[in-house]
Amino acid sequence: MTSDAILLFTVIPLFGSFVTLVEKAVPSLKVAKPAALASFFLSVLLLGLYGEGIYGGAVYSKVVGGWPRGIGIGQELDGIAWVALALVYLIYLPVLLYSFSEGGYDSRFYFFLLLLQGGMAGIVLAYDVFNLFVFLEITGIAAYVLIGYQKKDRALFAGFKYLMLSSLGITLFLLGVFLLYRDTGSLTYTDLRTWALEGMAPAKPVTALAWISTPFALATLLAGIGVRTAFLPYTWLPDAHGFAPHPISASLSGVVIKISFMVVWKLIVLLELSEARQFLLWMGSAIALIGVLRALTQTDVKVLLAWHSVSQMGYIFAGFGAGTEMATVGSLYHMVSHAFFKALLFLSVGTVILFTGERSLVKVSGLGRSFPYLAVLFAIGALSIMGVPPFVGYVSKSLIFEGLKNHSIPYWLLFAASVGTVASFTKLSLLFRGSPMVAGKSTEDSARPRGSFQRVEPTDTPSGLDTRPALQTRPFKSGYLGMSLLAVFCVLGGLLGTYGIQLFSTIALHGSAVSMGPAISVGTATLYGSALPNEAAASAFQESMQLTHGVTFLWLNGKEYLKTIVTLLLGYGVYRFIVSKKGKEVQAWANRLRISFDNQLVLLLVGLILLAVFLAIQY
């Protein structure tokens, strides 16, 4: 494959988005959906064509217009970028299918959806921090609009809050870009790495201030992306992901936050910021628990799921932060597995909202009998996030826990988060079990409450017959197809977990080994960072994860099963507590704790300072 074609990963969706504008101008031309599908299939085809080369360890780079590297706009496709793109497309198809089924989306929606796809491709392919800035903004703008698209409930305000927070973050990022440019005179990843290896000296006039200047520059850079990735203030995420249209929630939680984390990953490894990894380890395990605790008190089904995205991202940060091979691979695989099951959960719970018109757990329950297939899909997602074998979440969580063995506090924080996750999803599964109820009214004849509301209930049916609230059922074929795809991913990703880990880590490892340029012989830096300084250690690790070992570790490991059972039992205990009277009082108290928007901005700055302090320790 020629390197020139890597530009197409961004060009195809951007071109597709212009095609959708044709439908906007001439509404009789129905081109928006075909354009979205076509650009998806073309991108997948392209990714497939590069697959073999990437697997063989090749790296493709291209600078537009024949400028020298470092001056022109360039892109680079390496192993980890390939994995990231594969993740984007795996989630993109179910999301598209679901949007077709849900209906009510016009050409503008597909315009921004394609812009989102193009922006994400640009983020992973960028090879200098300024292009990264531009594509982060493209992705961001598409995301803000899509969140507020339906203008329902809190969506508009959530979109606005996200916009303000992440714009403040990205302005800090731009400040970081400036500081780096001042210190290095270049912005490409390769040059930044050279600078990092040479001791990160700042430019002349501030040499004496190096202890503060360099950590601050790096902290602004990471904080800027940190807002998007939700590890600095994660407070915007629940509203934004919870109130977005269902397919958008799925793609935001599934891929958008992970794509920006891959950038954080790349930067931290490139610049060898081991203290930033420490920061992520502690931050990650803390927010894993905070996210779950907040999720437990929610009654809004999608906000509950969104808090779990915060929490699951915590696992990913902690795994990467721990820095051991196991945990790092686990973190990579958890990005994939979280994308699968969280997209599935958002879509299936979204379908419930679509059919019943209700989004509160207090008002809907027991839909399992009316929608058995939907209940199965939800169950697959829920069991995956709980980490029950043989689903995909079990594989990635086992790896992360195994890798965290030497960090006892983060380990137990994450264990507590797992217990909370089980409790929270036992609670959410009330949607499908228990006594059937829609819109606060029972749909079971015997259990139908006698009372005044039944008489005032307007009904078209003859009196004395059916007064059940209508479940809105409608053809939903492609929506179910999309969700089934995700469910299949969840099951296969679990059953073939050992192959999956092998494949993903090999690709990410291979491709990236060369990408830092011949001047830097750090081997496997991009995937593992300094934990694995050379190819020999990397291949030793690859061997230790060989199929036999992997199978023994994952499927014939009594301790892992025991841990899962203990987690499930404890989780059920917590669930019993939160549905008890005492538990409800605690929840009501917790729900009064809110962080106002202004304080969220302050939180971002506090996070920035904290990160700078962490980095200053290393420096």
Binding site: K151, F157, L174, F178, V602, L605
Partner: protein, 114 residues
């Protein structure tokens, strides 16, 4: 030095404005100013060496660093897009909540929770 001081002042004032002011439009304006502060800083730094505009057609020498200018042109465009989008959001929010005051909107949003 005086330029750097003024830029820092602009940066801090707009950061303060973004956090302290209660009106959404003011917040967006402060964000825009913050963005401008960074852009001016970048351009100022690029202009330190050299005296002429980097237009190479006439064989100019002693030019300023062209890269910051090229980068900031892009950053300005991005900044405008974000500001415009934020203002559009405020318009919609005003339609819905009848105010552009942040505490009032937060109050209304949370009231719907109960």
């Amino acid at each position: 030095m005086i330029a750097l001081l003024l830029i820092s002042l602009l940066f801090l004032v707009s950061l303060g404005g973004m956090i302290l002011s209660k009106n959404l439009i003011r917040k967006v304006m402060a964000l825009n100013m913050l963005n401008s502060a960074v852009i001016i800083l970048f351009i100022f730094f690029g202009s330190l060496k050299g005296t002429h505009a980097p237009i190479l057609v006439g064989g100019e020498t002693d030019i300023v660093d062209p890269i910051p200018q090229a980068l900031m042109l892009t950053a300005i465009v991005v900044g405008i897009c974000v500001t415009a989008l934020a203002l559009a959001f405020i318009y919609r929010l005003y339609d819905r909540y009848g105010t552009t005051e942040l505490p009032e909107i937060e109050h209304q949003v949370h009231q719907n929770d109960q």
